[in-house]
Amino acid sequence: MSTSTSAASRIKPWLPLLGIALLALALLVIAPAMLSPFRLNNLGKYCCWAIVAVGIGLAWGRGGMLVMGQGVFFGIGGYAMAMHLKLEAAGPGQVPDFMQLYGDGSMPWWWEPFRSPVITIAAIILVPALVAGLLGFAIFKRRVKGAYFAILTQALAVVFATLLIATIKQTGGFNGLNNFPSFFGYSLYDPVNKKMVYLIAAGLLIVCLVIVWQINRSRFGELLVATRDAEERVRFLGHDPANIKLIAFVIAAVMASVGGAMFAPIAGIISPSDVDAAASILFIAGVALGGRAGLFGPALGALAVGYGQSTLSERFPNEWTYFQGALFVVVILLIPGGLSSVLKRFRKDVARQTTELRGLTVTEPPTEVKVHG
C-alpha cells in the first residue's frame, strides 16, 4: 500500500459530502442567479419531489421496502401546510373561502389547530410519523412479506385520494386547496419571497441528503442494508428487523411530508391528483431511474422525471404516459441499479460492480432453505 492510496481511502468517505456541496452550490447559488422566476419556481417543485425521492431511496433502495404510497405522506404534509395557508389568508376567526362556496360556511373542528404556525409545522413532522409508525408496526411486526407491504401502501394511497375527493366541504375535494396569497406572513406575490420559498425547499433537499448520507454511514444504515439482503440472518444475530424497517419507513414518510409541505406554497395548489396512487408511482419512477441504492441517484432521478413530467406531459400527454411506462419496463428490467450504476460501471472494476448488483437484486435471502415434511 502506497501512501497515496491510503490518503485516497481516507478522503473517500468524504466524497459524498463534496457531491452534496456541489449540488448545494448549483441549487442554492447558481440556479437562483441564472433562472427566471418562473423556471426557478418549477425547479422548486422538482426539489420537493426530490425530497420525497431521497426518503424512498432510504426505504426502498437501502431497506428493500417498496413504498408505493408515499403520496399519502406527501399529501399529509401538503394539506397541513395548505390548511394553514388558507387559514392565514382568511384571517383570524374567519373561515377559508371554499367552505362558504361548497358548504354552509362552518369549519370542521380539526381545522382549528392549523391556525397556529407552530402546530402546523409540528403536524407536518408528527402526523406522517404517526401514520407510518402505526401502519409499519402493524405490518412489520407480523412479518408480512415485502410484496404484501407494497400492495398495502398502494391501497393506502388509493383510499387516501378517494377520501379527499369525497370530502369537498372539508378538503376542497377534487379541486384540492389552492390560491395561497402568503407564506407565514410573507406575501407570495412578491418575487423575493417566492425566491425565499424556493431556497427553503432546495435547502431542505440538501438537509435530507446530509441526513441520509449520515444514516448510510451509521451502524443503523449497515443494519438496514443487512435487513434488505438477509432479514433472517439479522434476526438470528439478535436484532429485530421490524424495528429497523419501521425506523426507515418513518423517516421516509416524514421526508415525503416535508416535500409535500413545501410543494403547496411553491405550486400554489395541492389536490388529490398530486397525492394519489399514480403520483406515488411517479415518485418511484425517479428513484428507479436515478438509482435506488445510491445517495444521489434518487434525488437526481426525481429532478429529471419532474422536469420531464412538467415539460413533456403538457405538450405530449399521450407520449408522456407511454414514456413513463417504458421507463419502468426498461430501467427495472435492464438497469435495476439505475443510471448511477451505469456511470459507476465506467469507473469501477467489474468484480465490484457485480457484488453490488447482487446485493440489489437478490431480495430473498439465499439462506432461507425451506424444509418440507
Binding site: 405490518i139 398502494q154 383510499v159 407511454y322
Partner: protein, 294 residues
Amino acid sequence: MDSLTTPLLTGAATGAILLIAALGLALTFGQMGVINMAHGEFLMAGAYAAYLTQQVIGNADVSILVALPVAFVVAGMLGLLLELFIISRMYHRPLDTLLVTVGVGLILQQAAKDVFGAQGDPVSSPGWLDGSIGVFGYNWPYRGLFTIVLALLALGALAAVLKYTSFGRQIRATVQNRDLAETLGISTKRVDRMTFFIGSGLAGVGGVAVALISGTFPTLGTAYIIPAFLVVVAGGLGQLKGTVIAAFAVGILTQYLTSWFSGSMAQVLVFALVVIFLQVKPQGLFTVRTRGLA
C-alpha cells in the same frame, strides 16, 4: 328488509367479479411470487374483447357467449407475451416485477385510450339477461346472478383443472416445491408460462362480466385491481377456498359499509379491516404450510 338484502345481493355480484380477478392473481402470485399490476388492464382487455365481439356479431344474445372464450384467449395471450418477454427474465426479483408490470399497465391503458378513445363504449347485455328475480322484495337483475354463475363456473373449472388433470398436478407440485418438481422432470418454465396464460385469461373473463355491468372504458381495471389484491392478501396463497371466502367477504362488506356510511368511507374501512385481519392471520386465511422461515 330491503336495506339488509340489497347490499348482500349487489355485494355478492361485486364479490364474484373480484373472485374472477383474484383467482388469476392468486394463481400467478402463489406459484411464481409475481405480482402482476397489469392484471387490471387484462380485465380491461377482456371488456374490450366483449365490445369488439359484439360489434362483429351484432346479436347481443349470442355475442356474449362468444365473447367469453375470445376474452379468455385475448387476455391470456397478453399475459403469455408479458411472461415470455419480461417476467421470465426476472423471477429472482419479485418486487421488481411489480414495478415493471405497473409500467406495462400504463402502456396498455394509454394504448386503449388511443385506439378506442378515452370515452367509454357500451356493451349491450343479451335479452335473456334483461329480467330480474325477486329476492326478499328486492328485484335482483339477472346480470348480477349471471356474474355469480360465471365466477362459480370459472372457479369450478380452475379447481377441476388443478385437481384432476396432470397439468394441474404439475402446477400444484411447482407451488409446493419448485426444486423438487424440477427434479421430477416437470418443466417449471413451461408450467409458469401456462399458469400465466390461464391466470390472465381469467381476468379477461372477468372483464366480460364488468363490461355487462358498466360498459368498457380504458381505466376500467384500476377500480378492481386494488380490491382484488386485498382479496389475495386476506385470502392467503396456495388454496382457492381462501380466495373465494375473501372475495365475497370483501365484496359484500364493501356494499354494506357503502350503504351505512359512504362509498369512500367503505374503502377506508375495508382497508383498515384487512390490515387488522393481517394482525390475526399474517399469511391470510389459508396458506400452504411449510417449515420455511419466510
